[in-house]
Amino acid sequence: MNSDIVNPKQATAILSVFLISGTSVTMNNYLSKQNTWISLIISVAVSAVMFLLFAKILKLFKGKNLFEISERCFGRLGSKLISAVVVIYAFIRGIVALRSFCEMVTITSLDETPILFIAVFVMLTSAFMIKSGLYVMGKCSLFFAAVIVFITALTTLLSIGVMQFENLMLTGISAASLVADSVSFITHPFLDALLLLCLFSHIKNNANHSKIFIWALILAALVMVVTLLRDILILGGETFSQLYFPSYSATGIINIYNFLQRISVLDAVKTLFSVLIEVSVCLFCVTKGLGFLIRYDSYKNLAFPVAMLMSVLCTVCFSSTMVLADFTKNLTYFALPAQILLSLVILGMGTLKNKQKNS
C-alpha cells in the first residue's frame, strides 16, 4: 500500500505521458490532413470539461479508487458490473497500444522480428514496473516526461531548416473532417484518463485533483500540438495523412550538415517511453480491477500472468496491420459513449450519495 502513494507532481507526470501516447502510437487515419492540429486543439478544449468532471469524482470520494467508488454508489452487483466493463476496456486499450507499438517497430526498423517477441519484452518491463509500485512508476514518469519534452524541443528546433511553411495553409478545411478527428482525439487519449481514476486513490499532501488533471492536460496538449505541427510542416498534409507513423519519418528527414541526420531513434525512444506508461497504466487497471472482482488483496501477483496474456492476445487478435487500423477506428464508436456515460453516471450517483450522507 505504501508503494502506491504518489506526489501530485508524479501524478501529473503519469497522466501527461499517458496522454502523449495518443499521438505517438496510434494508427489513426487523419481525415483533416494538414488541419489536424486544429482538431487537436478543439478536442483539448472539450476534454478540459471532462477532466474537471474526473477531478470532481476523485474529490467527492477521498481515498477511494474507481472500483470502490462504484461500490459505494451502486452496491455490490452494480460495482462488479462496472468493474468488469472497466477491466475489459483497459485490457482492450492495452492490447491496441501494445500492438501499435509492435507494428511501429516491425514496419519502420526491425521488419523480421515476430510481434509476440517484442510484445513479451515490453510487457515484462511493464509488469516489473507495476510490481515495484505506483510510486516507482511516478518517479519514472517524471524522468520520461522530462526526456519527452526535451526530445520534442530538440527535434523541433533542429527541423526548422527542413520545414516548409506553406504546408500550414488552411486550404481544404472542412468542418466534418475536423469534427471527426476531434472525436477520435477525445476518445483516445483524452477520455482514457478515466482509467487513471483507478490508480489515483491516494495522493500525498492533500492534493488539488483538478490542478493535477488540468496541468497534465496542458503539458500533454503542448507536446502533442508541437509534434503535430512539426510533422505537418515537414511532411505536408498528404504524406502526413498517408503514413502510419509520420513522426518517425519526419525526424528522419532532419539533416544538419550531414552530421546529425536520420535521428529517427529519438522518435522511437519517445514512443517507447509513452507506450510503456500507457501499457503499464492499462495493466495496472486490469490487475487492480481483477483483484477487486475476485476479492484478492495482493493483486500485484496477477501482474505477470495478465501481462503475458496481453502479449499473447495482441499477437493473436489482429491478423494484420489493416485490421488493427480498422479496429482502432471502430473502437471510437463503442468507447466514447461508454466513457461519457460512465463518468456522468458515477458523478451523478456520487453527488446524490454525498448529499444523502450530509443531510
Binding site: 526491425l110 517484442i118 515495484s132 519514472c140 522530462a146 536520420r262 522511437a268
Partner: protein, 498 residues
C-alpha cells in the same frame, strides 16, 4: 587418574557456556579454572604472586603475551601490588582496585565471560584472594600498521591520512576532526566466534534516530559466527540483497568519514579492517570524491560531470555501437558505413561475438593488473595493449573500430571504481539485449535498470531522486562554491544550516 575438569562440557557448537562458572575466593581454585579455560594456549600468561609485606595476600594475574605492554603491567600492577602494605581491616580487593593499582583505566567484572573477553583483547585480569570479582586493567599493547595514505582513495590535494586496522586509533582519527561532545561512540560485539569489536559513531543532534535504531537492530540480528571485514556486515544488513548497487558506503579516509557524519549519517568502525562503513548511502555518492571539496569548484564540477558521463558511457557504449552497426545502420553517415564495412571485411566473427571476446579480454587484463606486483603489471599493460590492439587487428580476429570502442569503455569504467561491479553486469546484459532487439532492446533494458534503481532504498531513504531544483543541483551534478553550500542535503534534516 584424570582430574575432573572444573568447567562444564561444551555445547553443540563447541562453545563453553561460561555463565555457570563462578570466581571463588580461593586463588588456587581460580588458577585451576583459568588454566583449564586457556588449555593448550601457550601465549596466555597465568601467574600467582604474593604481597611482600603479608604472605597471605595472593594475587592471580592473567594476560596474553604480545597483546599487552609488559612495562605498564610492571609499573602500575605487579610492582605496587607486591610492594605496598595492605590494611588488614579493609577488604583486600577494595584496596587493590581503589588505592594500589595505579592505572587510570580499570573496571570490575564478575562474569567469567566478560573477563575472558577482556583478556583476549589485551587487558590484564587481576584477582585478589578474598574477592569474587576480577579487576580488568587496560594494558593494550599490540602492534598495528602505521597511518599511511590508502591506495584506493588517492587525493590530489587534501589530507592523506587513512584508517588503520585498530578500532581505537580509527576512532581517535575521527574524534580529532569533530571535537564536540555531541559525537557519540557506541561499542558493539559482532560475530559469535570472532567477537569482533565494532563502534557506531554519530552526531547525536543531527542523526535520524529511526535509522539509528533500525541499524542497531539489524546489527544485533546478525547470526554469523565470523565478521572479519566491514563488507561482511554490509552484505548481511543491506536493504536489497540482490541488487548490484551499493546501498551502504565505505571509506578508508577519516576526512570523508567525518564529512559524512557531519551530514547526519552514521559510521561503523570495525576492528581489524581499515574500511569504515557509512549509511545511508545515496546513488550520487558513487560519483563524489573528497577531492571535489579540496579543489577549485569549476575544476571539481567538471570532474564530477565527467564521472557521471563516464559511467553512462561505460554501460552503454558497446551496446550503442552494436545496435548502430548491426540493426540501425541507417543512422550512420555513408562514409562511416563504408569504412566500418571495409575494416571488418575479413573478420570471421559476428560483431556481437567480437564484442564479447574483447570485453572478456579486457576484464582479464584489468584483473591481472591488480593482482600482479607493480613492476610486472606495467609491462603487462604494454604487452596487453600491443598484442590485443595491433596484432589482433592484423590477424583479423577483431576489427579496428571494436578495439577503440572497448578500450574507451574500459577506461571510462575505471573512473568510478565503486560502481565497477554494477557497471560490468549492466554492460554485459545490455549487450545481450541489444543483440536481440537493437535499440529497442537496449532502451527496454535500461528502463528496467532505471525501475530497479528507483525502487531501491537505503535505510528508508530514497536511493535516487532525479530532481533539478537548485537545492539538489548544487551538490549533485556540480559542486557549488562553499559560500553557497549553506544547507545540508535534502535527505537529511534540512532545517540545519551548516
Amino acid at each position: 587418574m584424570q582430574v575432573a575438569s572444573p568447567l562444564p562440557p561444551p555445547d553443540s557448537n563447541g562453545v563453553i557456556d561460561y555463565n555457570v562458572i563462578k570466581i571463588s575466593a580461593d586463588i588456587q581454585e581460580n588458577y585451576k579454572i583459568f588454566k583449564e579455560i586457556f588449555k593448550n594456549d601457550n601465549t596466555v600468561v597465568i601467574r600467582v604472586f604474593e604481597n611482600q609485606q603479608d604472605k597471605d595476600i595472593q594475587f592471580l594475574g592473567i594476560s596474553i603475551n604480545g597483546m599487552v605492554k609488559p612495562n605498564s603491567i610492571y609499573q602500575s600492577i605487579t610492582s605496587p601490588l607486591m610492594q605496598k602494605k595492605f590494611d588488614k581491616n579493609e577488604s583486600y580487593f577494595t584496596q587493590a582496585h581503589r588505592e594500589i593499582i595505579s592505572s587510570l583505566d580499570l573496571s570490575i567484572k564478575t562474569d567469567v565471560k566478560d573477563i575472558v573477553k577482556a583478556i583476549l583483547y589485551g587487558d590484564t585480569a587481576i584477582m585478589v584472594s578474598g574477592g569474587t570479582q576480577a579487576i580488568l586493567v587496560e594494558t593494550k599493547g599490540w602492534s598495528t600498521r602505521s597511518i599511511s595514505e590508502p591506495d584506493s582513495e588517492k587525493n590530489l590535494k587534501g589530507p592523506r591520512e587513512g584508517f588503520t586496522e585498530a578500532m581505537i586509533i580509527n576512532a581517535s582519527l575521527i574524534r580529532r576532526r569533530i571535537q564536540t561532545s555531541d559525537l557519540k561512540f557506541q561499542y558493539m560485539n559482532l560475530g559469535t566466534r570472532t567477537n569482533t569489536f565494532a563502534c557506531i559513531v554519530y552526531l547525536d543532534s543531527l542523526v535520524d534516530k529511526k535509522v539509528l535504531t533500525e541499524f542497531v537492530r539489524r546489527l544485533e540480528k546478525i547470526s554469523s559466527d565470523s565478521v572479519l571485514d566491514a563488507n561482511y556486515i554490509e552484505e548481511l544488513i543491506k536493504d536489497n540483497r540482490h541488487s548490484p548497487f551499493k546501498t551502504i558506503g565505505s571509506t578508508e579516509k577519516p576526512d570523508v568519514a567525518a564529512a559524512r557524519i557531519l551530514e547526519g549519517r552514521i559510521a561503523l568502525i570495525v576492528d581489524g579492517t581499515p574500511i569504515v562503513i557509512t549509511l545511508p548511502y545515496l546513488f550520487i555518492e558513487n560519483f563524489q570524491s573528497p577531492d571535489d571539496y579540496y579543489l577549485n569548484y569549476y575544476f571539481a564540477s567538471i570532474g564530477r560531470l565527467l564521472r557521471i558521463i563516464g559511467f553512462f558511457i561505460t554501460i552503454s557504449l558497446p551496446s550503442v555501437y552494436l545496435a548502430l552497426v548491426t540493426y540501425h545502420q541507417e543512422m550512420l553517415p555513408t562514409q562511416m558505413v563504408t569504412a566500418i564495412a571495409e575494416s571488418s571485411k575479413g573478420v570471421p566473427f559476428p560483431t556481437f561475438v567480437e564484442c564479447l571476446i574483447m570485453l572478456f579480454v579486457f576484464e582479464i587484463l584489468r584483473e591481472t593488473g591488480i593482482r600482479m606486483s607493480s613492476k610486472i603489471g606495467q609491462a603487462l599493460g604494454i604487452v596487453g595493449g600491443l598484442v590485443v590492439g595491433q596484432a589482433a587487428v592484423e590477424a583479423k580476429i577483431v576489427s579496428a573500430p571494436m578495439v577503440i570502442v572497448i578500450a574507451f569503455t574500459g577506461i571510462t569504467g575505471l573512473i568510478t571504481p565503486r560502481l565497477s561491479g554494477a557497471a560490468i553486469l549492466i554492460r554485459t546484459l545490455s549487450l545481450i539485449f541489444t543483440a536481440i532487439l537493437g535499440f529497442y532492446g537496449f532502451f527496454l533494458f535500461m528502463i528496467t535498470v532505471l525501475i530497479h534503481v528507483m525502487s531501491l532504498k537505503s535505510f528508508s531513504y530514497e536511493y535516487i531522486s532525479l530532481s533539478f531544483k537548485p537545492q539538489s543541483i548544487k551538490d549533485i551534478y556540480v559542486r557549488a562554491p562553499q559560500w553557497q553550500l549553506k544547507t545540508r542535503p535534502k535527505f537529511a534534516k534540512d532545517k540545519y544550516r551548516r
